[in-house]
Amino acid sequence: MNDLALAVPAEATRHSGPAEERRVLPRTPDLLHSAGFRFAMVYAVLLALSAAALALYLWWATAGLLDRQTEAAIRADAQGLSERWNEGGLPALVITIRERLEQNVDDDAIYLLVDPDMQQITGNLRSWPDPVRRPDVLYELAVVRAGAPTLAQVQRYDLPGGYHLLIGRDVQGRAKLRQLLTDALLWGLIVVAVMALAGAFIVRSLFRRTLANVSATAAAISAGDFSRRVRVSGRGDEFDQLAETINDMLDRIGRLMEGVREVSNAIAHDLRTPITRARTRLEDAALHATTPDALHAAIERATDDLDGIVAVFHALLRISEIEAGSRRSAFTRVDLGAILADTAELYEPVAEEKGLHLAVEVPGGLAVTGDPDMLRQAVTNLTDNAVKFSPSGGIVRLFAAAVPAGVEIAVQDEGPGIPPEDLARATERFFRGEAARSTPGSGLGLALVQAVAHLHGGTLRLDALDPGLRATLCLPAGG
């Protein structure tokens, strides 16, 4: 007889042995498949790319600027010499080149003017450098100055009459600066790469530590410890939000499982009596019924008991179906006036028999979006309670009204009502107050009405009157 009381979900109390623990603990991924490693590499690559982009820009802005300045100086020089050639021909060009060499206080100018046979006419180079063959190309040339090797950038210009002009600049200083800058940037990139790897390691450690917290909690819950929760650091970041969401989910699961346990216990407790009574009656009839009529009567009473049990299971299944939300697909516009009128018409004979007056007050055109069957069931349950608990000669009122928040459907009676201390528990499954002990019922009526209210996004409010009770179903107008 106590089997039902033990019918709680097996998952909630499963005790895991070593084999179970080995099965539920997550397998640690290898390095390349680790999400933490990938995040760390993303960080490292982004940092390295950013540093490389910055280094590239700095190089372009400094060493590149120096190169562009040299090129511009050579072009400007060429332009000036070209004008002198146009003005005075070869003699003027020769004089100009000599003057420019004499006035070259920067000590970086290089000129060479040769005839069609590549023989020097003037300039500060002894002979034409072999590698310089094409015009409009900037050549880097190794030159010797006062016995020391140095670097120059030169460009060839071909003049009319087969003459050739070489204009250049000593870029040794600039080359040293460029080399210095390049070395500094390369070392800088190496330092950045080391820092990127260190940062990646730190990122991966942080990532793993945070996820380890969630993973360990999930593993403990899988092993059966439902009291565990994910630790919240208090920083309010995305990981804390995830932890809080998971904890909320675990709390809800815990409440649902507790609810299932309570329902199972309630079912076992409240159905044990009618099942026992039906069994006793049948057993008694089998042993002591002497006539077919007595046996038939015992069977009928037992059948009534079993019908009551079936009704209870039917109500429980209905409540479960409502709470699962599967009925939302049947939502449509529901005329509340029709539902209240139909319910009043259904209970009119019962009310008349008890000497009650049923009053229905519904403004025309009042409607909500919902499940018509569910709403009709809810109103029926409320009316059934009101009629059942109202004394003879009383009034049971069914009314509905539009309110700013939506629509309210109320059933009000003049019965004993519900004591204030029981109001909060009145919608629990199988709860029955003292005043209801002597009347038939399973204690599921208000639980079903509340489930219907929640399905429609509304609430059930119970107000104790003096005397009586008003049960109000508050629904949003849109459903």
């Binding site: 690559v45 006035q103 206080v105 500060n124 900037l138 190794a142 030159v143 100055r145």
Partner: protein
Amino acid sequence: MLVERTLARCATLGMLLASVPFALSAAGDGPPVVVTTDTPEYCHRLIDRISELIESVSQPPPVTVSSLSSEGQRLCDEGHTRPGILRLRRALMLLEQETQSP
């Protein structure tokens, strides 16, 4: 996976772009060429030029010109041709500016 591929492509493109500045100018191979304006002969040529200019004007040269000229000559005589040539060039430039000014 998409993020990793994108980063790999960016890294490759970055390395390609980084190599561009080093490929713009052509390198000239071959024996180094000697610059002839770093020699004692050029020093003397500049000294002669300065003397010519001084003789061509009626007034004595500015003190700066004389100072630079003598200093440059001394450096060239001591074997420091490039610093000496530098000073002689400055002296020559100042002298030409003097001779050209009204």
